[in-house]
Homo-oligomer: 454 residues x 2
């Protein structure tokens, strides 16, 4: 464990140093089965999400803006038929992965770790001809570092306005890239410190495309941190936890044990979860309660006069909003309740503009009220509907599907992948891609995977 000089001097062993030592010394052969499989699941889900939005204008625009700023084309942009340099490719792929809020979620931090971590690792591995096991190992360690750094500043960091996927994700990208290219522990420490001076991303911007730029930056700037550390650039040892370092600058006294405790035995990467719905994770219980009520009510949903959705402070803070566009819809209590109760489903299409502007859905959203219920745990929701005859129905969901308690199965993840692949135009390659991704740690190179993703 690291500790701090009680006289207030420099830490005897910094957060960066402890995480860096763990990353540099980790061997794939020593990783237990559970975190190994967690890495495979994160990767499968990441690639599927990135394929699913291949036609989205936000992704196409990101590609168009970055293209003139790309060096030698050496890394695949997922499902675009284009290769860019590894930094530009990872920027676009990270944006795609996270675009619909459909990617993996580390619930304790609300961090989506694969989007910032996997793209730079895959891009560098493709460029340098490294093995599937090397890439998967680096992705696992990158996810672990992102979640741990995020955990050490949660929940204050997010509550203060930091979009943790970007602002802590950059550490994971740096750690993953550092592992992949074989940096020493000292170099990895510097990579993490350089990442600290690149961390950014604001909750205020979440309803807008500015969010995507920050997620893309977490990926490419994490890679940049590793490359600068490889080239000899250094950082302050206490860049993360020091008196003028990242954690305190962003408003938090870090929980060092959450960051560094039990490295190699406690795996935050194994506490990653996968979404059945392309909406903010805290809206899943709303959707499931709504779908269950619709099943119960059948045709009588037409008699709904009013809806009250109760949830914890985070649900209210994120979700009680006017819905103007797709981004709003994916983080709206009102929209989640409306589609679940009237349509009985919440797939990608139910959050796109036709649904946003649908007059009946808009009217229904207007009948939904949001209410704080502090007795409900994080991620839970209670949906109460009042019918025109004055009767009420209520359904409470504490642990929605995709939660830690009710994780998506591998088969459900595969089904989600197939849906995404079909949306992105790679439906006919689903089986081959799924097979390649599950067995990536046996692949001598990423070439077969990247050929399928081109």
């Amino acid at each position: 464990m690291n500790s701090v000089d009680p006289a207030g001097g420099a830490p005897l062993s910094s957060v960066s140093a402890a995480l860096a030592g763990f990353v540099a010394e980790s061997r794939w052969a020593d990783i237990p089965a559970a975190p190994r499989h967690a890495a495979r699941r994160a990767l499968l889900n990441h690639v599927g999400c990135a394929i699913g939005v291949a036609h989205d204008p936000a992704v196409r625009t990101a590609l168009a803006v970055m293209r003139p700023f790309s060096g030698t084309a050496a890394a695949t942009v997922v499902a675009q038929g284009v290769r860019l340099d590894p930094m530009a490719a990872s920027f676009v792929n990270a944006i795609a992965s996270n675009l619909l809020d459909y990617d993996d979620t580390h619930l304790a931090t609300v961090l989506h770790p694969a989007a910032p971590v996997a793209p730079p690792v895959l891009a560098l591995a493709e460029q340098r001809g490294l093995s599937g096991a090397a890439a998967l190992h680096a992705i696992l360690l990158g996810i672990e570092v992102a979640c741990r750094v995020g955990l050490g500043v949660s929940p204050g960091h997010y509550a203060r306005g930091w979009h943790i996927t970007a602002s802590a994700g950059v550490f994971g990208a740096a750690a993953g890239c550092a592992k992949l290219i074989g940096l020493t522990a000292t170099q990895t420490m510097h990579a993490l410190g350089i990442a600290a001076s690149q961390a950014s991303g604001l909750v205020e911007n979440l309803p807008t495309a500015a969010k995507n730029v920050a997620v893309g930056n977490a990926a490419r700037n994490g890679m940049l941190a590793a490359l600068f550390a490889e080239a000899g650039y250094e950082a302050a040892p206490a860049a993360i936890e020091g008196p003028l370092g990242w954690a305190r600058a962003t408003g938090d006294v870090p929980d060092l044990a959450a960051m560094n405790g039990g490295l190699g035995s406690r795996w935050e990467a194994a506490r990653n979860t996968y979404k059945p719905y392309p909406a903010g994770i805290v809206f899943h219980a709303v959707i499931e309660a709504g779908v269950a009520l619709r099943r119960e009510l059948g045709d009588r949903v037409a008699m709904i006069d009013g809806v009250t959705v109760a949830g914890d402070a985070l649900l209210l803070a994120r979700g009680d909003r006017v819905v103007r566009n797709e981004r709003d819809a994916r983080v709206s209590i009102h929209h989640a309740a409306a589609i679940a109760l009237t349509l009985g489903r919440a797939g990608v299409a139910e959050f796109e503009m036709p649904a946003v502007t649908d007059a009946a859905l808009a009217r229904f959203r207007g009948r939904v009220a949001a209410r704080l219920d502090e007795s409900l745990p994080r991620g839970a929701a209670r949906v109460l509907v009042r019918l025109v005859d004055g009767s009420e129905r209520v359904r409470t969901v504490i642990t929605p599907r995709g939660s830690l308690e009710v994780p998506l199965t591998d088969a459900e993840l595969e089904a989600k992948f197939r849906d995404n692949a079909a949306l992105g135009g790679l439906g006919d390659r689903s089986a081959a891609l799924i097979a390649e991704l599950w067995a990536l740690d046996a692949a001598p190179s990423l070439t077969p995977l990247m050929r399928l993703l081109t």
Copy 2:
């Protein structure tokens, strides 16, 4: 003036919107002579500083790392004989400009605005074939925006750990690039909001090369913000001042009047200052007092037994440190006093490794004590020397040369430029460069300037 809905809703006119409107509507013909000339001085000083460190390993490494990640070579890397794409070139040039802490300083914020602002504007102007006046105008507005955004969160932002040159500089880079490429007011507002989600840079990392990465990022990410806004990406209107926006996330309730008040009449860019010494600005009074005492003492400097340097809290916080390398030396009370009192000068050479490791200077540094004197204003210092005979000499400098009260003259700026040009190997082009830079607003393109800088 902007105001906020008293009910707590969205700002009626956001900080970004007000600054963006000012930037988009500004016309060079309407700019008074003083801010125009301030822009010329900032540019002259910036280019000189960037040339001066052309041989520095930190700059060479930055160039080497970025080179494989550069698209079409369209922008000059100062004094390197290389062109990169505008994003990569501006990254390297920003690092060079700020590397020695020898660049311009907006004293009220301790922000060095030209380093993040001028490189991306010059690089884009070179690529797009725009005029010298367009570039100078954009640099002026970018500097203005960076200083105003920084002013609105000062001094808390820096004190909490944010390296304001990077963390607020990115807004200036975005504003400058937005003006240069002709974005509308709305697009410019989005560029500023996208910049907010890219702001970073930590004081904890200032003694290390991680600092440089953040300054380089401010330049390239500000450009990226403008390019994404040009391509249609949007940001939250209150990305800067909103409840979960940049200012509050970084720890401050912003002073909106400091950011938006008196646009076009109060020019923060005209309050920019230029350093006679390549050291942190707060050490200049220490140096001048030391040089004055050395002149007074003559050979009796050998009889100095002890030195006490008194200054305000910022001086003590930044400068009371162990000196291990050149970066430490440039922000050390002890080193500043030692070179001033024993050598009587403080040029670039006096902060390089031979001086850092010089045994006599190291011994002298050990005799220097730092002491807080809250009666002294920011930027002032009192140097007291005790001789072996028990006698004392004291010298207090309230306003050192290069301050707002005693600004460097144009002739002094030219002399500094010539010194830098000689250090960077462009000494024989000094006269041509100076002439080109003073008259840039009459140049139809940047081609002649960039040819001289190649």
